[in-house]
Amino acid sequence: MYNSRTHRRPGQRTAWKKFPGRRVAAVKVEIEKEIQQSAEAASRVLERIFASRKVLAINLVSSPGSGKTTLIETMIDRLDGRKRIAVVEGDIETEIDAERIRKHGVQVHQITTRSACHIPPALLVKALDHIDLDAADLLVVENVGNLVCPAEVPLGEDVRVVALSVTEGDEKPLKYPLIFKPSRILVITKTDLLPFVKFSTEAVKAAARSVNPAIEIFETSAVTGEGLAALVDRIEALHAEKVR
């Protein structure tokens, strides 16, 4: 039984309750402790790993089907001979994406989260056992396709890149502000489809900037190649900044 008379600590408030035959103390204990500290601690571990290995870590997020894997494939091809890329793929199930990336001749490891809707930092720490970071300049982590949960789970990344395809609608930054707010770069994908969809590039830019005034925006198409050179140059510059 808790004895409030002898064990009472500062910050506790005591309220006596009458119980038949004896008095039992109901005590309020102040805790004030952040939840999900384990995830934040793991994220800081990742930050230190990326700093010590001089690797620029990119956390690539988007809804399913907006073209994250295709974007990585085009980056690998365009950075060939300039920067060494390693990739960690995150999906709920299957190794399909890792197989696609492997064909480009880079280091890749697949995380299958089973049921988790985002990559937990602890799983990324384990995945790095399979990647030689000393042989990489960039680590691209393709998160689980989801605009909600990955927003709240940092992976120690240097840069968060959010991709949004023109078939998804230009109001998405307002509907999912939490994922756009901490993102450094917005990549608008599939611009070759613009003639066929009701999507205003100006509206999406205004929406993204209202949530995150500093966000850098690139309009790209893997089909026509539009915007990819500028995006890849920017990524290369961010890596140079980090290792300088």
Partner: protein, 112 residues
Amino acid sequence: MHELGIATEIVAAAVSEAQKHGAVKITTVTIRVGVLRGIVPESVRMFFEYAVKGTLAEGAALEIEEEPVLVSCRDCGDTPASGLTVSCPACGRDGVAVKGGDSLRIVSIDIE
């Protein structure tokens, strides 16, 4: 899915603190949730009831305090708001900064 993990962590933190104090029972767990965390209180409550089963916190009440966003305006100071905004809720001026609203904390437990 997300809320289940959160509920489990809340219960684990509450039980570990209660054990430090030699408690036999947790009657109330109080948490503070920022409006920006996108956490659905009903959902946390449902998973909380599931997560407390067989622990010191079985049958405990879950109190949820909501933490608003504070919109900082040059003219009006800090005004609480229920979400992200680009203009001051009091005077409508653009170019304000927002802070807070991102807590997810266990505040206190009531134990016996």
